[in-house]
Symmetry: C2
Subunit: 459 residues, 2 copies
């Protein structure tokens, strides 16, 4: 117990009973996300069941200035959930109820601990689906908090576009309901978008209303291999520029395919590969696939294979979603450093070419993959955390990549968030005045700095 | 001259020369938008040419606590630009340069005073267009500030989705650049969305980067008349629920058609009418139009007419965009009270039916029209401002409409903004805690309350 005094713990136990715990194993589980960042233990782990529970916890912590770090599925990659100052890990997973589904308005309201797969299972019979799909089966509260996206974002948008409204507990314990279920509104400040991407530093998201989308009449998946990464990226850029409303267009480099083969026995040719998906009526999908297939062939693409078979599609996309774990399996015992950047689509070939050259002789396993239709891509480094030289090399690769993306008008993270891993790039990306405006917002909403302290904003 | 001291005016004249004026006629032009709200004179009108000019003006005004009200095309409808506390009207129309167009990334950066039509003329040869189209030829800065939308929003989104980044001068004169040109980012707080819809109360937008969209291969416009408004609305709701990606679906009631006939000599049947538009490849458009045509006929729609002829389409949509002026022409000398609400699409028939009943015996000309694909619609009242009874009636209609929309889970304004006309509904819509969170934001960014004071937030 570091930051926490006896009265706080007593108060939390009165409130939550066994749903407040200081067991070491549980604290250890809540001390990190899924990346290389070191574990820092919270003093206690609390499991609220309702917005009311969260209000009571926040009031108690506010009174005693105890930090609170919201925790969803714990799958973030930049140390976003690490309790750097100790305090409470607020595990939201008991708040896992789907509260309301309005099929006719195409939206659903869930508690923050509901995962994306749980929501999709729940609405299976409505003809609708929720498209935002980071690799992990993350909670919707966590996805909103990190402005998550995934493979479908090129067509359906990220959490920025798909969160309709939220319930947020503020640092003073007040409960803010952001927005209505109307599709659009000009009625005041966009509180919803203030909290989307705020990583638990401005308020604690307890309920989320998300947009749903119609399951397309026809879904056609395709894949195509290329002689080098450049040709695959050019195909992706030309596809976007052609105006085709592609649903997914994902790049995996040869190492990523190797990892997927290894992990899921896919038996794919170990070459740079685009996985694509087309959504729409049969006629639309056929028209789009023909056009993109032609672009791929013009760029030297080979082995174009398209399938509408649901099982084969599911197998491919599961492999894509499992890439994080597949990479880890390539070097047992290692930790993953998964970085992501996003650039204007026209600059994508340049930055991907440069990073591919840079990491070619890396002394550890690397894999590159990306949501290239958005200009967003990931590089994973599999590190022996006992080897300082490896960590130093990964740091250097990451810094060169981020700085290159920023020089090209991009961002230091397309979808992983800042956590504390990328806070050092924030001023370089946004400028000192914009970061000052962010800091003003943080101070206004969390004057005692109890909400996920030392995240996003540089020290 | 009320709030302004001599030194401020001297300073502004030193800075701007003839671009700072206290001429009465000019002040009168900048004392109101396009609605019934009474004129309030600014003390002076300033015409900056650059972000640097705006910084200098803001610093001077901040020092002397002089209010600043940004002014674009002056076409807002809820008193958004009325200088309630006097001070400076900051006319942005000399900042009318298109700064950069990146066709390959599908975005463009403009100074805040560029209008939507000016941008579209500028990019005419790129194969791209900017879709957000409020009726007026508004400036992009003003459109961003009010979170504007229009007829295309159902497919292309509002300013919320189409603003990529901005340059904003803060109340202390610092210059914030929000975001990058990357399509998505998880790098910190969403400053862009904080300023979109803030109506000049949090900062002054001086540059806007917007998304562009490909001009569709085929555009098909259609119209269809109905026996009553309910049947037209049902058709719109069913169209959205069918998943058809319609580009435009607009309702005009019989009075609105009458006004359009009168203003533009259209010769249309004076019945409730849907105007629709389909964008895509020839095959897609044909498929969509056939499906929606069937839905319309099932709801008793008659005279379905479709055309791909560019001139005929332009004539129809010009008439739609001119509705504000067409309505005014129905009662010369009157002022328009144009209100708008937005509800979840499933509740649209109920609220439109109720308002149609409510205003049936109005003692003045009314017209109803709307972007019904979004659940957003407008009611216009043509008032004799010397007749207190008319104003009282209009107030009562407006309040009943707004309260009904709020009860159904909607918003008090879909696209006009709050100005001061709708500030009184803000707590009812968002709740006291959410409005308190908005107020905290306002205080944090504008502690001296010099930026468009007394707007958005209720007193």
């Amino acid at each position: 117990m570091s930051a926490m005094s006896g009265p706080v713990l007593d108060g939390l136990r009165d409130l939550l009973g066994e749903r407040c715990s200081t067991a070491l194993a549980l604290r250890e589980q809540h001390g990190h996300g899924e990346s290389y960042h070191p574990t820092r233990l919270p003093d206690a782990v609390c499991h609220p069941k309702s917005t009311g529970d969260v209000v009571a916890i926040v009031r108690l912590c506010a009174e005693h200035r105890v930090p609170i770090v919201p925790f969803g599925a714990g799958t973030s990659l930049e140390g976003n959930v690490t309790p750097l100052e100790g305090g409470i890990a607020l595990d939201m997973r008991l708040m896992n109820e789907v509260l309301e589904v309005y099929p006719e308005d195409m939206d659903a309201t869930v508690q923050a601990g509901v995962t994306r797969k749980q929501l999709n299972a729940h609405i299976r019979d409505t003809g609708l689906f929720f498209p935002v799909d980071p690799g992990a089966d993350a909670t919707l509260g966590g996805m909103a908090a990190t402005r998550a996206s995934g493979t479908n974002a090129v067509r359906y948008g990220t959490m920025r576009e798909n969160v309709v409204r939220m319930v947020v507990v503020m640092a003073d314990g007040s409960v803010v309901r952001t927005g209505s279920r109307a599709r659009k509104s000009a009625a005041g400040y966009d509180l919803t978008r203030i909290f989307v991407g705020s990583e638990g530093t401005l308020g604690i998201i307890t309920e989320v209303t998300v947009r749903l989308h119609g399951i397309p009449e026809t879904v056609l998946a395709a894949r195509c291999t290329f002689g080098d990464v450049d040709a695959a990226v050019r195909t992706a850029v030309e596809t976007i520029q052609s105006g085709v409303q592609i649903a997914r267009i994902e790049l995996l480099d040869a190492n990523a395919i190797r990892a997927a083969n290894h992990f899921a026995g896919l038996g794919l040719a170990e070459r740079p590969t685009l996985f694509l998906e087309f959504h729409g009526s049969a006629a639309v999908v056929a028209e789009q696939a023909a056009l993109v297939g032609e672009l791929a062939r013009d760029n030297g693409g080979e082995d174009w294979r398209a399938t509408a078979d649901a099982e084969e599609r599911a197998r491919i996309w599961q492999a894509r979603h499992d890439m994080h774990y597949a990479s880890m399996a390539m070097r047992p015992g290692s930790k993953t450093w998964g970085t992501d950047v996003c650039v204007p689509i026209s600059r994508l070939p340049e930055v991907i070419h440069a990073v591919a050259e840079d990491i070619r002789d890396a002394p550890f396993f690397t894999a590159m993959l990306g949501h290239v239709g958005d200009g967003n891509f990931h590089v994973g480094f599999l590190l022996n955390m006992d080897d300082e030289e490896e960590i130093r090399r990964a740091e250097a690769y990451n810094e060169r990549l981020v700085r290159h993306a920023l020089r090209l008008g991009g961002t230091c993270t397309g979808e992983h968030g800042v956590g504390y891993g990328k806070a050092k790039f924030l001023i370089e990306e946004h400028g000192a005045e914009a970061v000052a405006a962010m800091r003003t917002l943080k101070r206004a909403y969390d004057p005692s700095n109890i909400l996920n302290p030392r995240k996003i904003l540089p020290a």
